[in-house]
Amino acid sequence: MTLQTTTYLVVGLTFAIYIGIAIWARASTTKDFYIAGGGVHPVANGMATAADWMSAASFISMAGLIAFMGYGGSVFLMGWTGGYVLLAMLLAPYLRKFGKFTVPEFIGERYYSKGARVVAVICLIVASVTYVIGQMKGIGVAFSRFLEVQYELGLMIGMAIVFIYAVLGGMKGITYTQIAQYCVLIFAYTIPAIFISLNLTGNPIPQLGLGSMMSGSEVYLLDRLDQVVQDLGFAQYTTSARLSLTNMFMYTMSLMIGTAGLPHVIIRFFTVPKVKDARSSAGWALVFIAILYTTAPAVAAMARLNLMSTIEPVSGEYMVYEKRPNWFRNWEKTGLLVYEDKNDDGLVQYSADPATNEMVTIDRDIMVLANPEIARLPNWVIALVAAGGLAAALSTAAGLLLAISSAISHDLLKGIFKPDITEQQELLASRIAMAGAILLAGYLGFNPPDFAAGTVALAFGLAASSIFPVLMMGIFSKRMNKEGAIAGMVAGLGVTLLYVFQHKGIMFIASTAYMGDMPQNWFMGIEPNAFGAVGAIVNFAVAFAVSRVTSPPPEHIQHLVEDIRVPHGAMGAIDH
């Protein structure tokens, strides 16, 4: 069977499973649609959260980023996992106790203000829409590379699949498909890693292989890698920081706080039956995430080493271009791998010096996608990677779309404009909002705006500087009032946007960057992507100061805060 046929078969099979689940898990009430009926087992919810969280970026791009950044790539590993500790201890159990459907709903009630709710809806929609664009692109790219269909057609197939299970099943359909998608993506990620680790080190567990000696030699894999990259003039793999340690600190902090503040992750914890389930479910989510996140650094280092030793098998002996392997030819066709014979010797010389380096382009996304081919693994493994990439993108897109559509139908329509609609009308409205959100995401996938590349960082910045602080203060400070919360959100958001725009351009149009994207102009050497943590600090400080000089929240709000702090009585609170 050819690779093409195998890929169609594997991807087709996974899609059939997702549609089967959609038909089985239809939503019949708004509670089903928004929070899957509130009866999801904590381990199942953990698995669904892991799929929801791990996007096309985690699956395809992260290991590639680490492969070329080495130690500096640790910011993503720690940042995108450490946020779950904050979530489990500072937000999830209390928001579950509060027992409503959406994040803006909590903000609106806790701060007794429709204005605060609207500000929260806007933050949520901006953060989620920017995030969903990346997923749509991921779906289109995965289709066009692996199934060799047009990008547009691929995107349409992806939209159709999400449409079926998200519109039909809401959170209930999404949760159960996400569980299936998690299984697909984790197999797809770990199987190649196990094979490669076994090849290189003889140890089948990648996490241990990374710290082992190379097969048949007395040299540790990481020492060899350090040696190889330094010989070519690159920075040492295990110690090369990203810009500076201060910057790494702030970037990691921003990603952690941002992770804990992303609404599509938070709402997953509304689906479990009890407060104590919300606590343990965050732990299970992180277990399932950690399986991929601790494998990724091994994939990164091993892929980099494999790439290097293909191009330059022995130091000073280069690969003959005419004898390049098949995967090299395949990826050249896509333009993601570009060779230029600068000294006309027909050999491939790869080095850190741009004047002599002949590997002009090595797109970092190749590292995961081409990894099984580089390691000469069988076709079914390559097909599995295609299905895994699609599962990662689809599951995250669905979770984001649910957060967007429930903010529109529940917070804006039911909460503000038409409070008197019946449940059946709201359910219909939420389905229409979901369909609308899918069409919008698809439109943005067809016509990605110029600023798309910078926007995922913006989503984390927004969540870190606006949503996380306001939620945390709502639980941990009884004294925090409406004025403080709104001032804090506006200040945190304002500072973050101002900093990003002044260095990256207003709405990411580079020519409007009035301070230029120049590291010497950066505040304390902090890159714009890493500024969410500063925004969060500003938010906390402003909110604290404003709340001290304005009147305390009304009595019943203080009782509400006392009530969400204790688990007892959560069962009754869930029904509206």
Binding site: G73, M78, M89, L210, L222, A290, V566
Partner: protein, 86 residues
Amino acid sequence: MSKNKSYWSGNLRLVALCLAIWFVVSFGFGIILVEPMNKISIGGYKLGFWFAQQGSIYIFVALIFFYANRMGKLDREHDVHEDKSE
């Protein structure tokens, strides 16, 4: 209400302990102290590098389950758990 007060302060103490560990293993060992930590090796891993790319994640997982477990006990000690009848 004083019962709930001591429950809440017990929770805050537990959160503070967990977040202190969370901070030390990631920001401490993985970033601020990475250079001195890297002088120590376990197997082929430099220790600072290991904490940044492996160890901190394992400890995060353990921390959440530790917290969930201890909070479950605290809920029962202060009789605020969810299984009790209204």
